[in-house]
Subunit: 339 residues, 4 copies
Amino acid sequence: MIIVMKKDAGKEALAEVKKRVRDLGYKAHVIHGEARDVIGAVGDERGKAVLQSLESLPCVEAVVPILKPYKLASREIRPEPSVFELAPGVTVGGRELLVMAGPCSVEGEEQLLETARAVKAAGARVLRGGAFKPRTSPYAFQGMEEEGLKLLAAAREATGLPIVTEVVNPRDVDLVARYADILQVGARNVQNFPLLRLLGQQDKPVLLKRGMATTIQEFLMSAEYILSEGNQRVVLCERGIRTFETATRNTLDLSAVPVLKEQTHLPVVIDPSHATGHASLVPSMCYAAVAAGCDGLLVEVHNHPETASCDGPQSLTPAGFAAVMDKLRRFAAAADRDL
Amino acid sequence: MIIVMKKDAGKEALAEVKKRVRDLGYKAHVIHGEARDVIGAVGDERGKAVLQSLESLPCVEAVVPILKPYKLASREIRPEPSVFELAPGVTVGGRELLVMAGPCSVEGEEQLLETARAVKAAGARVLRGGAFKPRTSPYAFQGMEEEGLKLLAAAREATGLPIVTEVVNPRDVDLVARYADILQVGARNVQNFPLLRLLGQQDKPVLLKRGMATTIQEFLMSAEYILSEGNQRVVLCERGIRTFETATRNTLDLSAVPVLKEQTHLPVVIDPSHATGHASLVPSMCYAAVAAGCDGLLVEVHNHPETASCDGPQSLTPAGFAAVMDKLRRFAAAADRDL
Amino acid sequence: MIIVMKKDAGKEALAEVKKRVRDLGYKAHVIHGEARDVIGAVGDERGKAVLQSLESLPCVEAVVPILKPYKLASREIRPEPSVFELAPGVTVGGRELLVMAGPCSVEGEEQLLETARAVKAAGARVLRGGAFKPRTSPYAFQGMEEEGLKLLAAAREATGLPIVTEVVNPRDVDLVARYADILQVGARNVQNFPLLRLLGQQDKPVLLKRGMATTIQEFLMSAEYILSEGNQRVVLCERGIRTFETATRNTLDLSAVPVLKEQTHLPVVIDPSHATGHASLVPSMCYAAVAAGCDGLLVEVHNHPETASCDGPQSLTPAGFAAVMDKLRRFAAAADRDL
Amino acid sequence: MIIVMKKDAGKEALAEVKKRVRDLGYKAHVIHGEARDVIGAVGDERGKAVLQSLESLPCVEAVVPILKPYKLASREIRPEPSVFELAPGVTVGGRELLVMAGPCSVEGEEQLLETARAVKAAGARVLRGGAFKPRTSPYAFQGMEEEGLKLLAAAREATGLPIVTEVVNPRDVDLVARYADILQVGARNVQNFPLLRLLGQQDKPVLLKRGMATTIQEFLMSAEYILSEGNQRVVLCERGIRTFETATRNTLDLSAVPVLKEQTHLPVVIDPSHATGHASLVPSMCYAAVAAGCDGLLVEVHNHPETASCDGPQSLTPAGFAAVMDKLRRFAAAADRDL
């Protein structure tokens, strides 16, 4: 931490702050500047918010952190990218791109199975589908719950595709884990810390979505919650952040891909469907995501988008998805990835 | 809903969309415009996302909602402001301003009791203090949990102040409700729908904080989750939204007060501490909040901010809080409110 | 500046960066941290972007500024608030609150005069009105230009109110200055540096509006452009920033008032009309602004808002404005201000 | 426009609003809804803000526009993409990708020439370089002005590359146009309407940058200012928008590419340098931009970034740029574009 003193703080104040820094277990190193003094607090600053509270002293102008606050997620701990299995034969983080596709929510057997077969035929490696749906309105369709999980399991039987599905309540973690291969944390739950802790104790990989207003640093701190409980299989998913722009549902932050790749060893996938909110924008964002260096995609596909009970406008048709996959192969090759 | 057709959509497409609108149980009313046609879908559009999915038809440009999606929270259902008791003798929503104050987190008996006595002496009517702390970092102090709840209950014994404290896990709702008078939902949990549903089944009032990236409409939808389960005692709390500005921790959206007052009957309070992040900015935001027409304040006070294990920079000292309360009385009077 | 070295940067890299810092005219002061080293560059860092460019060295992780980049606008240069005359007998920055009111744009003699008389009767001290209108659409009404300036001058004759009006083109500065008492820079021109420089050479006070995406620090840098050319009479105007919230036209950042008051000696006024975009929200934001400690208000008033050629929805009627002024007196008194 | 009446607005109010709509020259078409009535105002709503002012009537809840407000920029006017020459032999909007590269600011003959030769050798088709620099601080380097323009012209002589450079003052348009091939409008001037009008009267193509807080619709309205004055050669440039994220200088909005491609026929290029602010993030954003379907790139290259007087941290070295161009060819081929 760098502690910036106020311009008119005198020698006594400086001595007092130095003493407090030392009392908190840090070395205090003073730089006398032209306009003001600063104190470098040397020591591991992570996990000690108290140093930040020195900002409430009248003689202190600001306390500026220098170290990144995450550890296990960082490249400094693990310089090489993490590559791991999500299900037998399906890995993420390596040369092969991971495409996960399926409907926003499970609505029925025929809808799911028809969509699952179509996405598999087009080259998807994982089936997505929501059984527990966090909806803005209490009057909206909330998902088929366990019934939906059973349909997902049946679709896995039928297609061989492992399934990723969201868990929204700590209470349901065990239930969902009984059916799902990959446990998804939605954008609204990115800082649902009790949920993250429980997922950190599971033996299943976790797909963690960035929240609408989550900085990349906070996003990595949320991953750190899972990692610090012992579960090292975390896949990060950028799905658009909230900005002033209304032409898209959210603003897809593709520069998060190289930023994350610099800072963490965890794999990064992109959800262009929730990011843009419009099916017509999804294909170009799939190509761009792969060109940006992501490790995979999460795409909404519905056999009849115009009747979808949720997020129809952003869902590709099976034919649309197949066309995207065809063209995506060219970009994957350009990026030295296999699809 | 207003369904806007594309410019070159022909008669057949129009007829097809009209049919679909009717099949979904709405009346379809067409306006032929100069540049394009629009269809008004007449019926209760709330709770039916399927209408929105018509946007995925190639002939439809956009589907624009007209009705507000919330019901029970709206002024249309209940034109008069809600006034209710939070604890015996402590009401919100009426002429009396409600000031809730105390430390960000409960750290120990002396800290809590000393602070509680001070805020009571200065005129606070409710004691705040966190026992379960949702922290960005897994390595940061996470709260004293049940031990903290016990200290809060002891402070209530000692001072007579009812207590408000946060619940972050659906699992803990019953536990927290055994100790607390008012159950707080933090900004990160504003769309933790399983938690909201459970709180809707409690017989205790709920203090619901707006999220960092929650629109006012979404905020009211979250309140609607609680109301629709039967609990009518919801207090809304604006605590700053996330913007590009970094001079403050968040940007306090005080215009949310008159907007909410137009749209809902629920009481509205302001948290200037989390909004600004700096104790020196808190007093003027307290005055402004009351002038804007809010029903109360939630203010962080700590007996020794510079040693606080959480949010020290934004905490007032007891003396600072007393000075704010003194001056606040003048603004309360100007706003025809009692303090 | 604090130069943060990368974790694995060796001794040679450190020596190289130290040398470069010294070559740029700074003293280099190293702190050896546990995880990485940092170099404090001691000297006046303002005006030297080159130091920042050291960030492009492979061994440097980040370059973090410590000093605020503005000088003349800062409290460190001038600890007391600036109080100055805008026109004979009309001051800003002192005990008296300054209320400026009038239509968004000058539309005709009757409209302007009727409105001017009404706002004067209600207590406004300055008449506002746009003759050059920066409009998002090239097809929208662009203002009456010099004809409008003449009408403003006539309204000043008739009422005695000095006038504030916007200048959007450096070419027009002299023209507008011939008519206006106060020269307004609109939000879209907050970083129109050639315009700011010219206004810095004028002998008339400048009302500088914050841009929709301007940080407080950038806002003060724009004021610094004017001050550094010699014109010390700059009034800062917060008028809402752009955020994700759509219930209001912009989000009024009232916490900017105390932040600015801490950092600068310049007077601060609030424009609640553009901030909220809805007349019904304007009154409470006027009261809140005064309670927050601002030095004045800029309010849109139109004698017939529903026929306004610009910004009708956010304009108060004369009667509405008079009612606001009446109630505002109570808040002014509570804030120890005269109205 | 759709005019939404308030819930309790009676028949008389409805009749009154219908009359006003007709008096403004529109047809009024009423839909009686279950909860409220709406009026469709049929006619060309562009350029008539008065209709919006009906929102100030007490019986009106909202006025919702249906038509896009731009004309000449729209796909509806010109369904095919615009393809045009920027300089002899250099076109934009067609199959060939346009790469513009060079330093942020012209600093001297050697710097410019060395960089120009390097970017040409790597495949750039246009040389960029700022002579008039809009800088946040009045104390920062403001550009070499006409001297810089002369150096740019000399670099064109030496390399054959046409030059793009920024104009920040309407007064300088003729001066800059004498030297430059393409006139650039910077992000801060995207709503400098007098400047846009003048550029609309020039016979040189214009590179228009999106502002930090400019919606896509407003961006197209700014283009419309230029088009409506007669200059049809406008190139749109997305360069990042301002959001809460601080890991990057701005947030590159790559989904703006497909959105713009749907709405306008104008070519779209991407500036990954200003968007990200860090050279290490630029390569992947170049690849992603091309995959997203853009027509070209604007990239900062400096022969010695660590000594740059402006934006060093985001500048590629010549070697770095050459490596990007090499790999970019693969993505261009995947996107069916030539480079």
